[in-house]
């Protein structure tokens, strides 16, 4: 037992029953079906913009790209353009592959001892694999959910649904992405619970999103395959939301409101959680800067102009007094008129 995941689990459990009982027993359908989803979306958008603009305002004082290959050089060693890019185009390619294939996660290794004290580094493939499944399943499920929000449903979306259900298991047909999402979320959760050193570094804020997303997938799957819901009424509600004419049809059932409340919580929580890596990945200086540190000087644009007072200026200011006090000066006052031009020249260095 570990209170970090128990607290997260209980929180998710309580949230579900809040929505379930709120709609089933108290009839707060308008609250959970209209007001909270709208509020959550507003918090999501404003919070997201606020976070990203905060990052945009922050300084990048140094150029800190991670270099995972040979840098550009004049010695004839072949450059690894993908892992040590020096041009904007190569950086875009690196970012793209990072985002769609999680290359840096793939490099993840685990150290082991073999035959006593021999160190070996093994590929730790499962985190990468399940993270990839998790994210793609999540994306597919969200895109497929657009069928509740678009009317008529675009052809491309219908094609996606057909592909996703091509196994034609059961009725309604099983969507593979929905099942994959639940399986991957459970894997990522068990990994944090059962691997000791991962559990040690896991916080409640790591467990909560996993329980929440697992809960969303679980309630969604319940609705589709187990205790069916009236999809036509639900689409009436969702279409009401997106056409700004909210309607709350009768008899949708607490399970749906539980699902929707989970999603609302996820949206509102998103900007203030680790899930902001959705925006953060684009702004990672270790990934999005070219490795041209030797070719171009990186000036932090947020550097404020530093007021300098060079020795020459200092001497100009106090020369008479210094001479009176018998201190050595570089330029004697008598020579001043002749050296006028030379005295000005150090000002160029100031820039």
């Amino acid at each position: 037992m570990n209170n970090k995941y128990m607290i997260s689990f209980i929180a998710v459990f309580v949230l579900f029953f809040l929505a379930y009982l709120g709609t089933e027993a108290l009839g707060l359908d308008v609250l959970f079906g209209v007001l909270i989803p709208y509020a959550a979306l507003a918090v999501f958008i404003v919070g997201f913009v606020y976070k990203v603009m905060g990052w945009a305002r922050s300084a990048v004082p140094f150029r800190i790209p991670t270099t995972c290959g040979q840098q550009e050089n004049q010695l004839g060693f072949r450059q690894n353009t993908l892992d040590c890019p020096s041009t904007a185009g190569a950086v875009v390619l690196r970012m793209f592959l990072e985002i769609v294939t999680f290359r840096s996660l793939f490099r993840n290794t685990r150290m082991n001892f073999r035959e006593g004290h021999k160190v070996s580094y093994n590929l730790e493939i499962f985190l990468w694999l399940f993270a990839l499944i998790f994210h793609y399943a999540f994306l597919t499920v969200i895109v497929r959910h657009l069928r509740f929000f678009l009317e008529p449903v675009p052809k491309a979306l219908q094609l996606l649904e057909t592909v996703d259900s091509f196994m034609q298991i059961g009725l309604p047909v099983l969507y593979l992405s929905g099942a994959a999402l639940l399986v991957a979320a459970v894997f990522l959760l068990l990994r944090r619970i059962f691997i000791g050193n991962v559990r040690y570094i896991s916080l409640a804020s790591d467990f909560f999103p996993l329980f929440l997303i697992g809960g969303i997938a679980f309630t969604g799957i319940l609705m589709r395959y187990v205790t069916k819901v009236d999809i036509v009424s639900i689409k009436q509600l969702t279409m009401g939301l997106v056409t700004l004419h909210p309607t709350v049809p009768e008899g949708i059932g607490g399970l749906f409101y539980g699902h929707l409340f989970f999603v609302s919580i996820l949206l509102a929580y998103f900007p203030f959680s680790k899930l902001m890596h959705l925006g953060g990945i684009f702004l990672s200086p270790t990934r999005n800067l070219p490795t041209d540190t030797r070719a171009t000087r990186h000036v932090n644009p947020w550097n404020y102009p530093v007021e300098t007072h060079t020795y020459e200026e200092y001497e100009d200011e106090f020369r008479e007094k210094m001479v009176e006090a018998g201190l050595p000066v570089e330029i004697m006052p008598e020579e001043q008129p002749a050296e006028e031009a030379e005295a000005d020249s150090p000002s160029e260095e100031k820039e």
Binding site: I45, P152, G240, L244
Partner: protein
């Protein structure tokens, strides 16, 4: 290095995507489908099971029917009220709901459900439309 312009452009695209459903449906009224009952269905007054059950679970019922017929070779279904029906997609459902395009399809288009049953099963057994 100040990339605020690029970042704001990226944010604008992100917000446009997130709010896509609002733009897509702007100025459109979303008509709620109204499945039309045939004269025969109206005369029968009620469906195989209660209307609420049929609305949400008819695919489940069809799944049970299919398996019972094909695997157990039993063709008669007894409803909760004790009425008997032949378990058949084309000959029972489409007997009362012979107007598939105006009944089944109206809901299915709305909910983006495309049952593949009609690859094999005849969807117009009475040859009406």
């Amino acid at each position: 290095m100040n990339d605020r312009g690029k970042i704001i452009a990226g944010l604008a695209i992100f917000i446009a995507i997130v709010t896509l459903p609002f733009w897509f449906n702007m100025g459109k009224a979303a008509p709620v489908p109204d499945p039309k009952l045939t004269a025969k269905a109206k005369a029968a007054k009620e469906c195989v099971e209660s209307t609420a059950y049929m609305r949400a679970e008819h695919m489940q019922l069809l799944d049970v029917w299919r398996d019972t017929v094909v695997r157990d070779a039993k063709r008669v279904y007894v409803t909760e009220k004790g009425k008997e029906y032949m378990m058949s997609l084309s000959n029972t459902c489409l007997d009362c709901h012979s107007n598939k395009t105006e009944f089944c399809d109206r809901c299915h288009d709305y909910a983006s459900a495309r049952p593949y049953c009609w690859d094999c099963h005849i969807d117009n057994p009475k040859g009406e439309n």
